[in-house]
Symmetry: C2
Subunit: 353 residues, 2 copies
């Protein structure tokens, strides 16, 4: 740092707009961040995703990963090409880019808040009743890329996927979830797993959940099988406060949670490294939606709310709250079916700040 440094602090942001609607929603998130943030952001844009892969064969070069690692935080749009593109082997971008970032940067807390926001017509509850957060484990489980295939393409093919769970990995995410629950008014934590079938992983999760619970006597605990959790999520989501769960169950439950609380267009997420040994990454839960890409049809609200999570993580909770308030106000006053363009939604939210 030179001694001509500005009085205003600054933070560095690695921006990965990604594929499909990713660049459109990311632009709006940045627009809002710029207005809301008390610090200046020095953003560097990384063109990673389907386009780069198809042009160069590169997914995430080590040198790019090293550069990204040097930033204070990462803002990501969405990653994933057209489902049937014969030039995109299945999962190459997801595994090679999105999941590689989550794993390499040790994003073991995949944080996904769900609130019933105003303007969303849920038959299940009033806005305000539903307010929970899913703490999804982000670096283990069935997402490790373990497993393989034998005699591929023949009638004798065998393909395996190995869910890897460690006491180290489970304990840290469970402890993080307890700490979050302890700070909330209801102080309730629900473990979701499938202990009656996945008995090895299930026993490990169960044991550490019970062990860490002893450190948080104020937190009420509950357990639910993933299938039962589906039913409660669909019929009584207001019962949840904090949920802690495995990587795959978390993937599934958070999309359902989004669907019942205003839609996937509003669901934000943070891939958090609570130990701050590497930058955390913030992204909407939704995918790249190639079918509507480039048409200014995507709702950037989830990306904008992910920006709020980013600000909160960087130590600016008031600014994060201001974005959330602006989004709530915008949602309350949204004319139903108004069909604003992506940039119009971003403009409207930025104008409220």
């Amino acid at each position: 740092m030179s001694d001509t440094q500005q009085p205003t602090a600054s933070s560095t942001l690695a921006v990965i707009p990604g594929d499909g609607i990713g660049p459109e929603v990311t632009a709006e998130a940045l627009k809002v961040l710029e207005v809301a943030s008390p610090v200046r952001f020095e953003s560097t844009r990384y063109d990673l995703g389907a386009e780069r892969y198809l042009a160069t064969g590169e997914v995430l070069p080590d040198s790019v990963l090293a550069e990204i690692r040097g930033h204070d935080a990462i803002l990501l749009g969405a990653v994933g090409g057209k489902p049937n593109d014969p030039n995109l082997p299945p999962g190459i971008l997801e595994r090679g880019l999105l999941l590689r970032l989550r794993f390499e940067l040790d994003h073991y807390v995949n944080l996904r808040p769900s609130r019933l926001l105003p303007g969303s017509a849920s038959p299940l509850a009033e806005p305000g009743d539903i307010d929970f957060v899913v703490v999804r484990e982000g670096t283990e489980g069935p997402y490790t890329g373990n497993g393989g295939a034998l005699r591929v393409g023949t009638p004798a093919e065998v393909a395996t996927e190995v869910s890897v769970n460690t006491a180290y990995g489970v304990e840290r995410v469970v402890r993080d979830a307890f700490a979050r629950a302890a700070k909330r008014p209801r102080k309730k934590l629900t473990l979701v797993h499938k202990t009656n079938v996945l008995v090895n992983a299930g026993s490990l999760w169960w044991r550490l959940f019970e062990e860490v619970a002893a450190e948080f006597p104020d937190v009420t605990t509950d357990y639910m099988h993933i299938d039962a959790a589906m039913i409660f999520m669909a019929t009584d989501p207001a019962r949840f406060d904090v949920i802690v769960t495995d990587n795959l169950f978390g993937d599934i439950i958070t999309d359902l949670a989004a669907a019942i609380t205003g839609g996937i267009g509003l669901a934000a997420s943070g891939n958090v490294n609570p130990d701050r040994t590497a930058p955390s990454m913030f992204e909407p839960v939704h995918g790249s939606a190639p079918d509507i890409a480039g048409q200014q049809k995507a709702d950037p609200t989830a990306a904008i709310l992910s920006g709020a999570l980013l600000l909160d993580h960087l130590g600016h909770p008031e600014a994060a709250a201001r974005i959330e308030a602006a989004v709530l106000a915008d949602l309350s006053e949204r004319a139903p079916g108004a069909g604003r363009r992506t940039s119009e939604v971003g403009d409207a939210i930025a104008a409220r700040l």
Copy 2:
């Protein structure tokens, strides 16, 4: 068979009432079956489940399995003890009894129809709009009991679960699902998986889905990731016709399907061995609900509808249709919140036959 055989044919039924509300709902299913069936049933009752295990340590003795195997079909109530019973190791009954039956008797088609039934208040659709069936693979995937644990109980514990998928196992269930789709008016089959993360298993499912599709040119095909399927199931379930999916995804999606189409009290299932090398097994999707056991509070409708699937499988589609019609009529005329006793529901449905 002696030559004094009755003119009416008879079928043998192995009845496993199981735990919790299992015996109560099974009694009603049998009551209705007796009235509806064109054949006489010779039922043998097998007391398997938590009570027997706690008393004797036995889960499913080989000799009992051999006896059960000799029947024409199996009717099962529900299996599973109290979640926190220290004398019941997690999964011992599920893995040792329910799943052992499914695996040993090669129930590779786990059939779970979902219809929006009259009287159920779905905000999403009108009764009749939602009518789909999930063909859940029943003998592979993460349910195989592969995997293990190392350094159990220590901070260095590692626990794995291995999802095993074979071309043999995937192809047969995919072909069954295509054949079912081809017989339905809409002729539509959706594969649900997570091919972008579980690339080994996903590629196998995808390949065989495409290969078998070529044999069924009349069937429209579709693919959805499990997380996206959550969203569509919650917001637009009427779009589904037949879904084919892996054992664990099928477990998850069918509970959600039940929740949005009248509730888990109405969801029936068949564990079908289409090759008829062993008896198929019919059971409600719901669990043993120990909290309301023995109180005549459980809704036996799912068990009764499972009985209809059983009759259909044994070659009595008209009798199955009569049970379904009686259930529909009962549901249409159910006073909301009437709170009939389990046996009263069974009586009411039987009386309509």
